[in-house]
Subunit: 338 residues, 2 copies
Amino acid sequence: MVSPTITYQFSTASVNYFLPEQLENLTALAAGKRLVLLTDENLFAAHAARLSAFDCIVVPAGEPYKNEQTVAQIIQQLIVREADRQTVLVGLGGGVITDMAGYVAGVYMRGIGCGLVPSSILAMVDAAIGGKNGVDVGLYKNMVGLIRQPLFLCYDLSLLSTLPQSEWVNGFAEIIKHACIKDAAMFAELQQRDLAFYQQNPAALQSLIERNMRLKNEVVVADEFEQGDRKLLNFGHTLGHAIENEYQLPHGHAISIGMVAAAKISENLLGFAATKAVEQVLAQYGLPTHFNYDKTKMMQLLKMDKKRSGNTIHYVLLNQIGQASYQSIHIDQLEKLL
Amino acid sequence: MVSPTITYQFSTASVNYFLPEQLENLTALAAGKRLVLLTDENLFAAHAARLSAFDCIVVPAGEPYKNEQTVAQIIQQLIVREADRQTVLVGLGGGVITDMAGYVAGVYMRGIGCGLVPSSILAMVDAAIGGKNGVDVGLYKNMVGLIRQPLFLCYDLSLLSTLPQSEWVNGFAEIIKHACIKDAAMFAELQQRDLAFYQQNPAALQSLIERNMRLKNEVVVADEFEQGDRKLLNFGHTLGHAIENEYQLPHGHAISIGMVAAAKISENLLGFAATKAVEQVLAQYGLPTHFNYDKTKMMQLLKMDKKRSGNTIHYVLLNQIGQASYQSIHIDQLEKLL
């Protein structure tokens, strides 16, 4: 029996967080149940020896494979293995894998247990937390999915040793997002440091990851089904998702551009006064702050955003660093502001 | 504002039942929200004039189309219509349609509202009730799905005017199932009457449908996630599903055969003494009671049943008419009993 670092209680489930932990202990974390691991080709190759003890379903790596076809293949693989309702599906990977693992576990046999081993900064501080899962449909991100909590998350920080530099940058976009909307003190810490510092100081990195894990969980636990505060986590994501899909930008780059755009709209509508500081801290962590996108195409995509309601789009804006709010903006007004 | 006949309260949702009602009132039942209807080609043709007022997604009819490909097509149709989270997807049809409508509404944009208009006896008394939905994967029935409650069900009994005789027979298999496991008085009523009687007496039919709707809801409300009593509703379904898929039998025929098999196992293991009465009432409503199936193939399929747990299968048996119980039977023993 392994004790979790912290347990979060949701409406119909509780989620155990193990941080720090080693993936070798997964069976113990799943209370001895039968495990099937889901991972991608890159991670399977990079950690072949450590994964050899597990029954692994391996899918191609990358967002283009986060779709209904891959989900159908994973389900076929579970059927071939005669996986039943006592089986736990464990997703080991970045957000693409943790999203698909959560979704498949949610629908296979109307729901089996799910565990997650986030392997990227982005998945550790954001994507794997909160039970939102799903796959893309064409250009539309997460158009199909569920809000369903996993049984546990296992944080094995040694997996970060093979994370490409570009993925470190991506992950810090979400960390900066958290700082912008909820944690002015963390924003100040990030201003004083840089990526190299965290990469060379495992203790500082672990502490930063845990701080972000707790911050996101506190928001999510208080608002599991996104009726209120959880919506603030979409800061930078409305325009960000549209740009990401249309131009195949990395997620962190896209939401960095989205955060700068939202900061400027905040300046316009709410008198937000720290756009420069937001731009500077993003640039300090290797993130782009500007991008020449096709405005007409973007507006078309925004109209299909899940946060649209009739002719208005719900947009997250900043009042000040560490304090965000949620505003309805008419599509025509948004077009002008962009 | 239309008042529901009865409202059932689930853990995270309440479900309104309107019985009797007319499909023309659907928009009012959905509190004025935007509706998209899902139906099949047969029903769309049979009720073209009545459906012309609605925005309909029409899919091919029949169980062979209850799969992930049809789900993907429905999702594409919702995207084309720019359906958002304020849209309600209403499934009008038999169990195939109500299952797919419930599933698509559960995953599209991580969940939109769902309404159901069951158009067959089977859907009215069973399939559309209780929130279980899903699609088949190859030979495996409902291998992918959710337990999620719809917002409302609308019972328009005039839809039964175009129901083929074979589908009446199918539906009565579930009614007899309900009587066997929970309602000895209804079993006695069914013994005294026949299909022609109910087809010629709308009031008796409506009363029978409502009785079954209430019976199933009472079981389901008490055990939403199938931890206990709800499992009894699987009486006849374990073997039934396997036969249905392998031999393409109608659902009612397959579970009729499954109920007779379960009654005989009950005789063997629990001293159940009314197998003959069960066979007689099934035959009285046009249902088959015997079928020469391939035992080896059946056992292979039973091993993939969702109710399997390791080497045992959970089987619903009868103690007496109106009283069922749930037993674990080892796969080897089951093979001998069949």
